[in-house]
Amino acid sequence: MTTNPTARDTVLGRIRAALALAPTPDSEVPRVYRTGRTLPDDERLALLTDRLADYKAQVHPCTGDRTAEVIAGILHERGARRIGVPDGLDEQWLAAYDGEVQLDSADIPAPSLDALDGVVTASAVSCAETGTIFLDGSPGQGRRALSLVPDLHVCVVDLSSVVAGVPEAVARLVPERPTTLISGPSATSDIELERVEGVHGPRTLAVVIRTDA
């Protein structure tokens, strides 16, 4: 739906007038920057680990069969007694966790997520070169509020979903899905440029990288 059609026509008319007054030649976009890069598993793992550590995220590489054990270890260490999980998360991942698990759903008011100690989610794709994890709300990743409000985010990344650079990651996205790019815990440098980790988003980001998944 569009409101105020007069304003719409006026603005579009002004743009057309401007383009007539100051025409410029057509522009071809030279896409000769790096795209379609591939890197071997060990290099993507090393690069992603290095970048995440640089952002002060915790990194836990492990084989798929140890997923439950590693997740339980992180939650235990952080004292997380009550966690939220999205619909579609692999139940096996929480097999070793003995705390309370709240299955998230759209009718739970977002503010009540503040009472959770942490959240465990999967991820859609990750970019090794920038240390960025992409969540797109597919099963196992949940609505955006779930990975935002609790103070601890345990995020599971399969090495097979880790790509080399930004173009390779963007190519794997589904534009219409609500997508969040996460590069470390939230941070600010607004006071005398001194970096402070953890403002409004989760103050702790723990990334479990499954090296054979």
Binding site: L12, T24, A110, D114, C127, P175, L181, I191, E192
Partner: protein, 514 residues
């Protein structure tokens, strides 16, 4: 669309007297006061140096950085050339996905639209994500006058808002405040803050977290800007660090996004370029902590009522200027601020506009004009530069800011009527074209030595030329001009000796080379 007969009319600038695109004073006057603020200069110097170093580190890491800049620049040029169709496509896609699109001819209209939308929700409070566009149109002031309380949620914007201050940097708006000042602002302005709060940045950030968390959890409406709007898919993007953006874009029932019409990008794929250019140029990070992308309304996830306000406010006037339109390519990274020797010393407030620094000096006059009133402060902005060119080198979309500054200076002199400077130049041209008169004038000028101090400089010229001497000393004229020295016996002898020496040397040189 109307049919044009002959040349179309030039689109209007942002209406005079509205928004925050014009200061009260000209740049030199404002800078004069700011330069006395040692805290500001120390903070700015440290901040700009730190970000410069980080930026060079992470841009140097990418072997295709220059190719990304070329692509970014070309995508922006292509966007401006196809702006009508892209905006219509964006509107169609957002609408298809359950959003509502509004068009605002200027800031006044945008403010009215946003106010009406907030009122319709019944909420008296609104949480805000840092946004240059809403700063530009003075949305907060408008909302307050309408009885709606806007809460800025970016830490620096919060500091600025609580102190009833103005931002001084695009990226770090409270760069002019130190930790002690921020502590005092929080103690004075945040209700229920711990009275023992100290000045440690982590503790100050924690105080802001506690204060704002309650706002995030209870406020039903949010207002944001947008870094990019994708025409192909209707996807909006906000790039941030603290998570306040995610909170505002996710938790409220209603989201209102105000976006300048130039922020549209043709394809979703274009994000692969800008998500590399923006964070590395802006904060000097490989990637900013959080980026949010949303397309209209997603059932069960985030605001179920989404409004996009497309803002002109002088952008079409800029687009009608062959050279000036390049200012619309800006992605608000602030790299040009951090490399600018003038900005580093004068600070952001001296520019009087929401957009400071080199890009502000070209964008502000494009959006709001330079000759809207007698002695328009904006007419001083094109001169707030030494034309060193560092901004052009740093710009991720290769905006040729120095050429635009020169063009604006040209436009300014063309517009200005007869000034003392113009008359003086005309007189000088007349005198210099007649050698005898020129020699006589030089002789007369040497009498001006009497006006010079012991250091041979004149610190204040007479009234008609005082504009020059306000900000610089003038060397007192020499005892003798070069022309009169050359005509003297001493001059003639020196020239003969030099000619002989030169002839001798050229004869020897070939032998030395062998």
């Amino acid at each position: 669309m109307s049919t044009f007969l002959g040349m179309p009319a030039a689109p209007p600038r942002s209406p005079y007297g509205t928004g925050n695109l014009r200061g009260d004073r000209k740049f030199p006057e404002a800078a004069h006061d700011e330069l006395r603020n040692e805290q500001l200069r120390r903070n700015l110097s440290r901040a700009t140096r730190t970000i410069r170093t980080k930026r060079l580190g992470v841009t140097g890491e990418l072997p295709d950085w220059e190719r990304l800049r070329d692509a970014g620049s070309a995508i922006k040029t292509d966007t401006m050339n196809r702006l009508p169709e892209l905006l219509e496509q964006l509107e169609r896609k957002v609408t298809e996905r359950g959003g509502t699109v509004h068009w605002a001819r200027d800031g006044v209209e945008a403010n009215e639209i946003v106010t009406r939308l907030i009122r319709a929700t019944g909420s008296r409070d609104v949480i805000k994500v840092k946004s240059m566009a809403t700063q530009e149109i003075g949305l907060n002031e408008h909302l307050e006058a309408a009885g709606i309380t806007p809460y800025e949620t970016d830490l620096a914007e919060l500091i600025v808002q609580l102190a009833d201050d103005k931002p001084s940097h695009i990226l770090v708006p409270a760069i002019h405040r130190n930790r002690d000042e921020i502590r005092q602002i929080f103690l004075d302005e945040i209700p229920g803050v711990d009275p023992d709060l100290d000045n440690v940045p982590a503790h100050l950030a924690a105080a802001a977290r506690a204060y704002l968390r309650e706002k995030f959890m209870t406020t039903k409406v949010a207002v944001s800007g947008a870094n990019f709007g994708i025409a192909e898919t209707g996807t909006l993007t906000v790039v941030e660090s603290e998570g306040n953006g995610r909170m505002c874009l996710t938790l409220p029932d209603t989201l209102i996004t105000v976006m300048g019409i130039e922020k549209v990008l043709p394809r979703f794929q274009d994000l692969e370029v800008f998500l590399q250019l923006l964070p590395r140029s802006s904060t000097g990070e490989r990637m900013n902590p959080y980026t949010s992308m949303w397309t209209g309304v997603t059932p069960g996830d985030g605001p179920q009522d989404f409004h996009l306000v497309l803002l002109d406010n002088g952008r079409t006037a800029a687009l009608a200027d062959t050279i000036g339109r390049e200012a619309l390519n800006c992605i608000r990274c602030s790299a040009c601020l951090n490399v600018c020797p003038v900005y580093e010393r004068a600070g952001g407030h001296a520019y009087g506009s929401t957009y400071p620094g080199p890009i502000g000096a070209v964008l502000t006059p494009q959006l709001a004009g330079m000759h809207a009133a007698k002695d328009d402060p904006n007419s001083s902005l094109p001169y707030a530069s030494s034309l060193c060119g560092a901004c052009f080198d740093a710009c991720p979309v290769k905006i040729d800011i120095p050429s635009m500054l020169v063009e604006l200076r040209h436009q300014h002199t063309e517009q200005s009527g007869t000034t003392a400077e113009k008359l003086a130049m005309k007189a000088a041209a007349g005198v210099m074209s007649r050698p005898k008169l020129f020699a006589a004038a030089q002789k007369a000028a040497s009498l001006g030595r009497a006006a010079g101090g012991r250091d041979g400089t004149i610190s204040r010229l007479p009234a008609s030329l005082s504009g020059w001497s306000d900000s610089r000393d003038t060397a007192a004229p020499p005892k003798q001009s070069f022309r009169s020295w050359l005509a003297s016996a001493e001059g003639a002898a020196t020239m003969r000796a030099a000619a002989g020496e030169g002839a001798g040397r050229t004869a020897e040189e070939p032998e030395e080379e062998q």
